[in-house]
């Protein structure tokens, strides 16, 4: 029997050497005449352990990591192919506390299966949701999604079922599903991991969305910073078409769905849904005024569902196990699981999927193990570059949309970036303004000009020029941006700045 060895093909695993390790394992096995099957899986999301190598044994999968090419020979010597003892052995993968203490629903298959194997997908519960949806009316599908309590994972947390209902209720000769795979927020990588590790799950979610609202064409708008996703998604689509999961006659149902991936071109603002639609139409990615909502007048003027990758990837499970199953996770108005992405100065960075309600402290210390540097943590930025900096005394905040909003923070796409005490919060505030100046679409003055002024004012504060007056000016600039901007780019850039000013005033006094 051929032994199965797993080495991830995930971007981050490869970024720290997974390809070289995979190659060396294959060569070594061939040299000593062991027949192995090398599977390039997605990542389990325990990135401090990457490259994480797993072997399939009778007692389940055994993990070794982080493995470098220098370790390969000794792994063979220790008979790792049969789960042998070695300094890098981590025991059964699913028993590693980081993974064991998660509630993986959306990421159930990521890191487990061969991402492009249709067989693997099917034997791990794939296509059940779609089969169920094919037997339901559009209204029934939408009702299931409403019942799940799912809210958009792209940032705005808008109820997905209600968005779908609006598109369903709008009649048109053509409707579209647009998947927002722009994942521009720094500190986020859940979309990428899912697309690289379980692309069929996303495709299944998109097709179900199409059935739910009466759309027959879909686009995945992918950021160009993700070349591996581009390859994987295109290959996944090709295989789905060949197998009849996409195309003119999905699973012999007589229903059709056509799906394409389109590449962005390095503009953060194209993650904003209306700028994204402009970009898909071939224009400059400038934000549109709302109303009309994309649900009424979207891509090419047609009713359009725009949903984030993770939102859509939640759908197959909701259909397969029912909205109630999903709703049973979470708390308050934040239902289901949240896919948190922990990074920055943290010992154990990674992907943590957990029901809403975990506190930041639990996330940072129990999962994350505290700072990587060993110095105390000082702040985290939650929710991407437009998210507030949260100080340590707020670490007991539960991860819940409403609880965060109450403290002027947001969960957004679930990225949490940790900083130790060496962080200069004035520099971070300046960066927020600089980022806005760089990425503004230019449509409104408070955002376009205000951000440039913001950088200048912070520089003057740094140089000690009229510090008091400039601090007042910075506050009022933030107010103007917050209230005078068309979209959240200009409207929320003040959040990191104001939170830095509020919680870390000492950094502005030096």
């Amino acid at each position: 029997m051929s032994l199965k060895v797993y080495v991830p093909c995930d971007t981050t695993a490869v970024s720290v050497g997974a390809d070289r390790v995979a190659k060396m394992i294959a060569t070594q096995a061939a040299t000593i005449g062991h027949h192995i099957t090398l599977v390039r899986n997605g990542s389990r999301g325990m990135f401090w352990l990457e490259p994480l190598v797993e072997v399939e044994t009778e007692g389940g999968r055994i993990a070794y990591g982080p493995v470098t090419t220098r370790d390969v020979e000794s792994l063979f010597a220790a008979d790792f192919l049969h789960g042998g003892q070695h300094a890098l052995c981590l025991g059964p993968t699913t028993e590693i506390p980081y993974l064991k203490n998660q509630e993986r629903l959306t990421f159930e298959r990521v890191g487990v299966i061969d991402p492009l194997s249709l067989d693997d997908y099917q034997t791990h519960g794939g296509w059940i949701g779609l089969q169920k949806a094919l037997a339901l009316s559009a209204t029934e599908i939408v009702a299931e999604v409403k019942g799940s309590g799912l809210r958009g994972r792209g940032g705005a947390a808008f109820p997905t079922g209600i968005k779908w209902q609006t598109v369903l209720d709008t009649s048109a000769d053509q409707k579209y599903i647009v998947c927002n795979a722009d994942e521009g927020d720094s500190g986020t990588f859940a979309d990428r991991m899912l697309m690289e590790g379980d692309p069929y799950c996303l495709i299944e979610g998109i097709v179900i969305a199409g059935l739910a609202v009466g759309a027959t064409v879909g686009y995945i708008y992918l950021r160009s910073e993700y070349p591996r996703c581009w390859t994987t998604l295109n290959e996944a689509i090709r295989r789905c078409e060949a197998a009849g999961w996409l195309g003119p006659n999905i699973a012999d149902s007589g229903r059709s769905f056509h799906l394409e991936v389109r590449l962005g071109a390095g503009a953060y603002i194209c993650g904003e849904e209306t700028a994204l639609l402009e970009s898909l139409e071939g224009k400059r990615g400038e934000v549109r005024a709302k109303p009309p909502l994309p649900a009424h007048v979207g891509l090419f003027g047609k009713p359009t569902v725009v949903n984030n990758v993770i939102t859509l990837a939640c759908i197959p499970l909701i259909l397969a196990r029912g909205g109630k199953y999903y709703h049973d996770y979470g708390q308050g108005r934040s239902r289901g699981t949240l896919t948190l992405q922990l990074s920055g100065n943290i010992q154990r960075p990674g992907l943590i999927e957990k029901a809403f309600g975990l506190t930041l402290r639990e996330l940072l210390y129990e999962f994350g193990g505290g700072s990587a540097s060993g110095r105390p943590l000082r702040a985290v930025q939650a929710g991407g570059p437009l998210g507030a900096y949260v100080p340590t005394h707020d670490f007991d905040l539960p991860l819940d949309y409403e609880a965060f909003a109450q403290r002027g923070a947001m969960i957004g796409h679930g990225g949490i970036v940790a900083f130790d005490e060496s962080v200069d919060m004035r520099r971070m505030a300046r960066f927020a303004m600089e980022f806005c100046a760089e990425e503004s679409c230019g449509k409104c003055t408070p955002c376009r000009i205000g951000s440039v002024r913001g950088v200048e004012v912070i520089d003057r504060i740094e140089q000690g020029q009229n510090r008091e007056a400039n601090l007042v000016l910075l506050e009022s600039l933030c107010e103007t941006m917050q209230h005078g901007s068309l979209c959240a780019m200009g409207g929320m850039t003040p959040f990191p700045v104001q939170s830095a000013l509020k919680h870390f005033p000492e950094d502005f006094e030096r």
Partner: protein, 179 residues
């Protein structure tokens, strides 16, 4: 290189551009796919492309130019043989990204958006590569690298130079057409 008149486009380039554009012109929202295709071929968007794209999509040249200049990815000048992007995102900053950025500029002797005099490397900033869990991150061509320090950066530069040394200077014909 032979001097070409500003209005005269090398017919080979013209034909090639028309072929590239024709691959996508019938698609809805064809502009970005076309520009990506042209850039994949030439490494940048040569100026004669603007008219070809405008004509094929029935839009003004100003509109095509407006799109090209809006997006950070599209360039109107040929880049170096390798493009190295250094991440400026917060997760990278939290792990020494700023120091790496400074080192990259210092060791290459150029600023962001510039190319080394030997045309080997163009240095670009990038706002997150989705590699935040192994920061700081760098991208060279289609490959992303994590946990990059000064020593790894030097290795990446050396490797990039070695890999592209044999490569002919990017798209001579298009360069001619640009003048």
């Amino acid at each position: 290189m032979e001097k070409t008149n500003a209005n005269e486009v090398d017919p080979i380039v013209q034909t090639r551009l028309e072929t590239l554009v024709a691959r996508h012109a019938q698609r809805l929202g064809a502009m970005l796919p076309i520009l990506h295709e042209i850039q994949a071929e030439y490494g940048f968007i040569p100026s004669p492309a603007i008219s070809v794209v405008a004509h094929a999509l029935n839009v003004s040249r100003a509109e095509v130019y407006g799109v090209i200049t809006f997006y950070a990815d599209f360039r109107t000048e040929p880049p170096g043989r390798s493009i190295i992007q250094v991440c400026r995102g917060e997760a990278c900053q939290a792990k020494g990204g700023c120091e790496l950025e400074a080192y990259a500029k210092r060791s290459l002797g150029i600023d962001f958006h510039q190319t080394t005099p030997d045309h080997a490397v163009t240095l670009e900033p990038v706002f997150c590569l989705g590699n935040c869990a192994c920061s700081p991150s760098v991208r060279v061509g289609e490959e992303v690298y994590g946990r990059v320090d000064a020593a790894t950066f030097d290795e990446l530069v050396a490797e990039a130079k070695a890999n592209t040394e044999q490569k002919a200077p990017a798209a001579d014909a298009a360069l001619g057409a640009r003048s």
